[in-house]
C-alpha cells in the first residue's frame, strides 16, 4: 500500500483525539474521516452530531461532501433542529469539536473571517458558521490546519473562534465557563497547550518532517521539550479505513 499523505497523517492524529463515548461535533472534510476512523478502531461508542440537526453513531451510507447530503440523513439516530444541537453544546454535553482554520495563533485562537482588517479585508473568508460556538462551548476543541507560515501567525487577524485569547485566565475573564483548544494538528506536527499556563508546546512531529521544517514554516514558536517524539505513523489498517471512506482521495490527496 502507498505510504500516508500529510492529510492522512492529520486524519489519524485527529482520530486519536477522539475518546470512546465522546459526543463529537464532527464537521466535514478531514474531521469527518477522523470520526469514522475512530469509530471503527478505538472509539466504537462515540456519537457524532451535526449542526444541521443530526446525530449518528455509524458512518453515512455513502461518502458525503456536506452534512446535508441524503446518505448522512439515512440511518441517523436523531434528526432535529440546529437549536437542539447548539443546546447540547451550551449545556456542556459536547465533549469535542473539530475546527478548520485559515489562521491559528499561539493561543489557539482561530480565524475564518478575514485576512487583513475586518473593515477592508485583503481576503474575505466565509465566516464562522458554527465554529465560534464550538470554540466557546465544547469541552475541548481540536484545530486542523495546513502547516504554512501565513496560516500560523503570532496573532490572528480576527478572532472568529476564541482559543485561550491572550493566555492565562483570559477565557474565564470573558465569561467562557469551559473549554479551549486541546490540540492543533497540522500537516507537520501536533501542538498542545500546558493546562496551567496555556502555553503552546510541540507535542510530536509527523514522520517525514523535521523540527527545522516545523519552525521555519510558522511565525510563532511553541515551547520545545527536550525530546520531541515522532507522531506514531498511520497503520496499514488505519489507512485502509480512511481510503474506504475517501476512495477518490477528495479530501486526503
Amino acid at each position: 500500500m502507498e505510504g500516508p499523505t500529510p492529510a492522512e497523517c492529520m486524519v489519524v492524529a485527529g482520530a486519536r483525539e477522539i475518546r470512546d463515548e465522546d459526543c463529537v461535533f464532527v464537521g466535514m472534510r478531514l474531521p469527518l474521516l477522523s470520526f469514522q476512523l475512530a469509530k471503527e478502531t478505538h472509539a466504537p461508542h462515540a456519537v457524532g452530531i451535526f449542526e444541521t440537526g443530526l446525530l449518528r453513531d455509524r458512518p453515512a451510507l455513502r461518502s458525503i461532501l456536506t452534512m446535508g447530503d441524503l446518505p448522512n440523513i439515512a440511518g441517523a439516530l436523531w434528526t432535529t433542529s440546529m437549536l437542539d444541537i447548539m443546546s447540547l453544546l451550551q449545556s456542556g454535553k459536547v465533549s469535542l469539536g473539530f475546527l478548520g482554520a485559515a489562521q491559528v495563533d499561539q493561543f489557539g485562537n482561530v480565524n475564518t473571517t478575514c485576512i487583513g482588517s475586518y473593515r477592508s479585508p485583503e481576503i474575505r473568508l466565509p465566516g464562522s458558521g458554527g465554529a465560534a460556538d464550538i470554540a466557546c462551548l465544547a469541552q475541548r476543541f481540536v484545530v486542523i490546519i495546513a502547516h504554512e507560515r501565513h496560516r500560523l501567525p503570532g496573532r490572528v487577524d480576527f478572532i472568529t473562534s476564541p482559543g485561550f485569547g491572550e493566555g492565562g485566565h483570559w477565557r474565564e475573564n470573558q465569561g467562557l465557563i469551559r473549554g479551549g483548544p486541546s490540540a492543533i494538528i497540522t500537516t507537520r506536527c501536533v501542538i498542545r497547550f500546558d493546562p496551567a499556563t496555556r502555553e503552546a508546546y510541540l507535542h510530536s512531529i509527523h514522520p517525514g518532517s523535521t523540527l527545522d521544517e516545523v519552525l521555519e514554516n510558522m511565525e510563532w514558536r511553541p515551547r520545545i521539550p527536550k525530546s520531541v517524539p515522532t507522531t506514531p505513523p498511520p497503520t496499514e489498517a488505519e489507512l485502509q479505513i480512511i481510503r474506504k471512506y475517501d476512495p477518490e482521495g477528495f479530501w486526503t490527496r
Binding site: 440523513i73 465566516g127 458558521g129 465560534a132 460556538d133 478572532i159 476564541p162
Partner: protein
C-alpha cells in the same frame, strides 16, 4: 389544489417587496430555495436584507445579481468548494455594490430567530464571549445574570418580513412537512411576518393529518404555497433528490471573475423563463443521477384513538 397555491412568479411578486428582510436557506445545506431566489433575481428585487445561517451559493447569486443591500448570516460561501466570489467581490471591492454585513455564528443567528418566534426582545447566551464577532456586532449587548452573576451575551430578536422555505410537501392550505434535519426552518418561519413555502409536491390534507409530527409550520401562518419540482436543485431534498456536487464545482470555477458570473446568470437565470426551462437546460438524463438510489422507508406509526 387552489387554497394558497400560487405560481412562483405570483408568490414572489405578491409577497416579496423591495427593501424586505428575507430569510432563506434556513435548513442549511439541504432544501435551499434556489428556484425562488432565481425568480427574485428575474423580478429585479432590490435592497433586500438576506437572513440565513450558511447560505451556500444562493446568497452569492443574489449578491452578484445586485438584489442585496445587507446580509445577516454566519457563513457565506460554497459549502463543498470554499469561497463564494460574488460575496468576496462585494466585500473586497464593492462590486457590484458595497454590502452591509451583520455577522453571527450559527447559534447566535438561531437565537435571534428564536427570540423573534417567541415574541421576546432578546435571548441570553454564553456563545461568542471572547470572539471578535461579539465586538463588531452593532447590537449585541452584555449583562451579568441576575441569578448567577454569570457573564452573558444578549442577542436581539430578528423578525424578517418574509420566510421562503423549501419543503418536501405541504397541502394546499400551507400545512408544511419536513423530515430529516431541520436546521432553523421552524424558527425562521415562525419569526417572520409572511411565509412562502415551495414544495416538491402538494398533497391532500389527509396526508398531513395522518402524520402531524412531521408538520414544521401550520398553514394558518403561511401566505403562499408553490409546487415546484426540483425547486431546490442543486441542494438536496429528503425523499426526492440528493445534492448535485458537480453543479457547485462548476459554479465555483465559472464565477471566479465578474464576467464569468454574468455569463452564468444569463445561462441559468435570465436565459430561462422559470424552473421548468432551467430543468430543460439540465436535461432529464442528467437529473436522473440525483434521484434516490437506495430506499430507506420509515415504519408507519398509528395515531389512532
Amino acid at each position: 389544489m387552489k387554497g394558497k397555491v400560487l405560481s412562483m412568479q405570483e408568490a414572489i411578486s405578491r409577497f416579496v417587496a423591495d427593501g424586505d428582510t428575507v430569510v432563506m436557506g434556513a435548513a442549511l445545506e439541504p432544501m435551499i430555495p434556489f428556484a425562488a431566489g432565481h425568480e427574485i433575481i428575474r423580478q429585479g428585487k432590490k435592497d433586500l436584507t438576506l437572513v440565513g445561517p450558511i447560505s451556500d451559493i444562493l446568497f452569492d447569486q443574489l449578491i452578484g445579481a445586485g438584489c442585496v443591500r445587507k446580509v445577516v448570516g454566519a457563513w457565506i460561501g460554497n459549502v463543498s468548494e470554499g469561497s463564494a466570489y460574488n460575496f468576496r467581490r462585494a466585500v473586497e471591492e464593492g462590486v457590484p455594490a458595497p454590502l452591509v454585513l451583520e455577522e453571527h455564528s450559527n447559534f447566535s443567528l438561531a437565537l435571534a430567530l428564536l427570540a423573534g418566534q417567541m415574541g421576546v426582545p432578546f435571548l441570553p447566551t454564553r456563545t461568542l464571549l471572547g470572539s471578535d464577532l461579539a465586538r463588531i456586532h452593532p447590537s449585541f449587548k452584555r449583562m451579568e445574570c441576575p441569578y448567577t452573576g454569570d457573564k452573558l451575551l444578549l442577542v436581539p430578536a430578528l423578525k424578517p418580513d418574509v420566510a421562503i422555505l423549501h419543503l418536501p410537501r405541504a397541502d394546499a392550505m400551507g400545512n408544511g412537512q419536513i423530515w430529516g434535519s431541520t436546521g432553523l426552518t421552524k424558527e425562521a418561519a415562525m419569526a417572520s411576518k409572511r411565509v412562502i413555502i415551495i414544495v416538491e409536491e402538494v398533497v391532500e390534507r389527509e396526508v398531513i393529518s395522518h402524520d402531524p409530527s412531521r408538520t414544521i409550520i401550520p398553514g394558518f401562518l403561511v401566505d403562499a404555497v408553490v409546487e415546484e419540482r426540483w425547486g431546490a436543485h442543486p441542494s438536496p431534498v429528503p425523499g426526492h433528490y440528493d445534492r448535485d456536487h458537480h453543479y457547485y464545482t462548476r459554479y465555483h470555477l465559472e464565477t471566479k471573475d465578474r464576467e464569468g458570473f454574468l455569463r452564468w446568470l444569463e445561462q441559468w437565470v435570465y436565459g430561462v423563463k422559470d424552473r421548468k426551462e432551467y430543468l430543460k437546460v439540465l436535461g432529464k438524463d442528467y437529473l436522473k443521477g440525483f434521484r434516490i438510489r437506495t430506499r430507506y422507508l420509515s415504519t408507519p406509526v398509528d395515531y389512532g384513538c
